[in-house]
């Protein structure tokens, strides 16, 4: 046997690479033409044919997709009456190889005339145009279908045959969606009636409790005029769904009697119920839905039981009660975190239920002492009132003094401010009068008159200087006296707080 020479092999290899480069670079799509469909225009005088136009357009798009020979671009809109020039513009702008456009009209001879045309960008004109006439509304859909097939056959240069795919659901009677070659076809279909002959992928999808799920996906070889059967089964519960449901059930059961896990169980029961909000994908799951409802009711009762049990448990403990605590003071037991941060409002303090026993207690940095908690009782540290009263009395005196000083400063501040303004006004007046006196002085032609006038100028000069000094000092001091120092209202609140505390401590 004679083998081809090395040179021939290299040429064959290079030719193969050149022929296959578009596929290598762009994938299979690089060899497919780009096609767009323009919505069939209704040129009849009746809106009743709008639906027929839409159906014909959908059939055309679907069939083009199912053929698998074209990349079907989104529908295009054409400027009305633009002709081939308008089509060329759209084709170039959107990089389309073909544009299919159609119309329905009512000829004088009667019936409905369906027309479908193909614009070829490479040839720069409409290269194909077919028409078929429907006898009436009932016939129009079949006519449009025939026209689409006829045009596509001419366009592809070959015969387009159709077969059918029969779908059989052997599982649960749930709702599902059908996709052909990745494009949605419809919901709960039992068959796909007009599938172009050839190999297609049929997929069945469901929206289930854990999201969109693929139930079945199968490649089918559709033959013209034949029916290909495809069987699938909608599951009752998928494996991961079952794991989720079982996991929630177990968690709920575990925390059912735990008073500290109430919030967690609330969340899990709500999640359990939400899983079965919509069970149209597997209707028998409605049993779980009923279970979720029942579980929610039982949990509401169980929560009350847990609350009652907690209340009973508290009876064995006792509380610490303080007749009054200062605003913002923190109460601590031993070295523990603060039990409470008192509100702005003056208030007493009542602890939560504590185990009986002896506790070290502190209130801010004012009081440190001990208290013994007894079952069912409210305990107050023995020296709390006297210690707090002494502390508060001293503080009250200090605050009273500060408030008195502040009030005097405030009064002085207002007086200073008023003095400042009076000084300022005086300075302005003295300036004005001095200026006039100076004019008078300048006008003097006698020595005695000049001497007298200058005395007046000097007088206003002195007055002006004094007024400026008084005004400046007054205005300068007033903000110092008014703004600095403690806020009188805050001081008064503190005093009121202490007064309230002393009164509260005095009550038995």
């Amino acid at each position: 046997m004679r083998f081809p020479s090395l040179r021939v092999l290299i040429i064959i290899l290079l030719a193969s690479l050149v022929a296959g480069w578009p596929t290598f670079v762009f994938g299979q799509d690089a060899t497919k033409a780009h096609v767009a469909v323009v919505q069939f225009s209704n040129e009849t005088d009746s809106d009743a044919y709008d639906a027929a136009c839409s159906a014909a357009t959908e059939t055309l798009v679907l069939t083009l997709r199912e053929l698998g020979r074209y990349i079907v671009e989104p529908e295009q809109a054409l400027p009305s009456g633009s002709g081939d020039e308008g089509l060329r513009s759209v084709a170039e702008e959107c990089n389309l190889d073909f544009i299919l456009y159609g119309r329905m009209s009512t000829p004088e001879s009667g019936g409905i005339l369906c027309n479908l045309s193909v614009y070829d960008r490479a040839k720069g004109k409409t290269t194909l145009s077919r028409s078929e006439k429907a006898t009436g509304v009932l016939d129009i859909f079949n006519t449009a279908d025939r026209l689409v097939v006829s045009v596509l056959e001419s366009m592809t240069g070959g015969h387009i045959g159709f077969g059918m795919v029969a779908l059989e659901n052997a599982g649960e009677q749930g709702s599902y969606a059908v996709l052909l070659d990745g494009s949605p076809i419809g919901r709960d279909l039992e068959s796909l009636d007009k599938v172009p002959s050839g190999r297609h992928v049929v997929t069945v999808m469901q929206k289930r409790m854990l999201g969109d799920r693929e139930i079945a996906s199968s490649s089918v070889d559709v033959k013209e005029g034949e029916t290909t059967a495809l069987s699938f089964a909608v599951p009752y519960l998928m494996d991961d769904e079952k794991q989720k449901v079982d996991g929630l059930r177990a968690a709920i059961e575990t925390g059912w009697n735990d008073a500290t896990a109430v919030g967690d169980i609330d969340t899990k029961i709500a999640e359990f119920a939400s899983l079965f909000d919509d069970v149209t994908y597997s209707p028998k799951l409605s049993a779980y839905k009923d279970e979720a409802t029942r579980l929610g009711g039982e949990w509401a009762l169980q929560k009350k039981r847990l609350a009652v049990a907690a209340a009973k448990a508290q009876v064995n403990g006792g509380r610490i009660v303080l007749p009054w605590i200062p605003s913002g003071a923190k109460v601590r037991l031993g070295q523990e975190s603060p039990l409470v941060l008192a509100n702005e409002a003056t208030s007493g303090f009542r602890s939560s239920v504590l185990s009986p026993g002896d506790y070290a207690i502190s209130v801010g940095d004012i009081y440190n002492g001990r208290v013994t908690v007894v079952p069912g009782g409210e305990a107050e540290p023995a020296d709390y009132r006297s210690a707090m009263a002494a502390s508060l009395g001293a503080k009250l005196d200090g605050l009273d003094n500060r408030l008195a000083v502040k009030r005097k400063k405030t009064t002085a501040g207002w007086i200073s401010l008023a003095t400042g303004f009076i000084g300022g006004g005086g300075a302005a007046a003295a300036y004005y009068l001095g200026k006039q006196a100076m004019a008078t002085y300048n006008a003097q032609t006698t020595t005695t008159g000049a001497a007298s006038a200058w005395n007046t100028v000097s007088l206003y000069g002195t007055l002006f200087t004094v007024a400026v000094a008084v005004g400046g000092i007054g205005l300068g001091l007033s903000p110092l006296l008014l703004v600095t120092g403690p806020d009188p209202k805050a001081l008064q609140r503190s005093i009121d707080d202490l007064d309230e505390g002393i009164r509260a401590l005095g009550k038995q």
Partner: protein, 158 residues
């Protein structure tokens, strides 16, 4: 108790007031007729003839040169002056008597050379715009600054 900041502010304000006080907010004291002004012409000015006074030499002072100065009377047509050895002689036997002086700075001229080194009495008056002489000024005295070289004094009778 005042804080340091407040004290500093106060000092600043007092300083500001001091600066104001040293300024002359309406201009400097400047009037030629004002004896206290820096540009004082050196003699007082009066509005009426009766206010005239002797100015230079001051009372009991020395006469240097030959010019005596009296108050400038506004609108005066002329000034008159008399100098005598005694006050009584001012009206009866003045050594110098001039009534045609056009300025309040009166140059006695060569008559000065006739004066001895004794105390002389003098007074002045002004002629108003209405053509009447005003009252004589109060009598003042002076001594010539240096002894007179002697000679004959020119005496002009009134």
């Amino acid at each position: 108790m005042m804080s340091m900041k407040a004290i500093l502010k106060l000092v600043f304000l007092v300083g500001l007031a001091f600066i104001f006080s040293t300024c002359e907010p309406w201009g400097t004291r400047s009037n030629p007729v004002d004896a206290g002004a820096t540009d004082y012409v050196g003699y007082p000015t009066a509005a009426t003839t009766d206010e005239i006074t002797t100015v230079s030499p001051p009372g009991g002072g020395s006469l240097t040169g030959s010019v005596v100065v009296v108050t400038k009377v506004l609108g005066a047509e002329a000034y008159g002056i008399r100098i005598a050895a005694t006050s009584a002689e001012l009206d009866t036997a003045p050594l110098i008597s001039m009534d045609d002086c056009l300025d309040n700075q009166i140059d006695l001229g060569s008559a000065v050379s006739q004066l001895a080194s004794i105390t002389y009495y003098w007074k002045a008056r002004a002629l108003g715009v209405d053509g009447t002489w005003g009252a004589w000024s109060p009598i003042s005295t002076f001594k010539p600054a240096s002894p007179s070289p002697g000679g004959t004094a020119t005496v002009t009778a009134q």
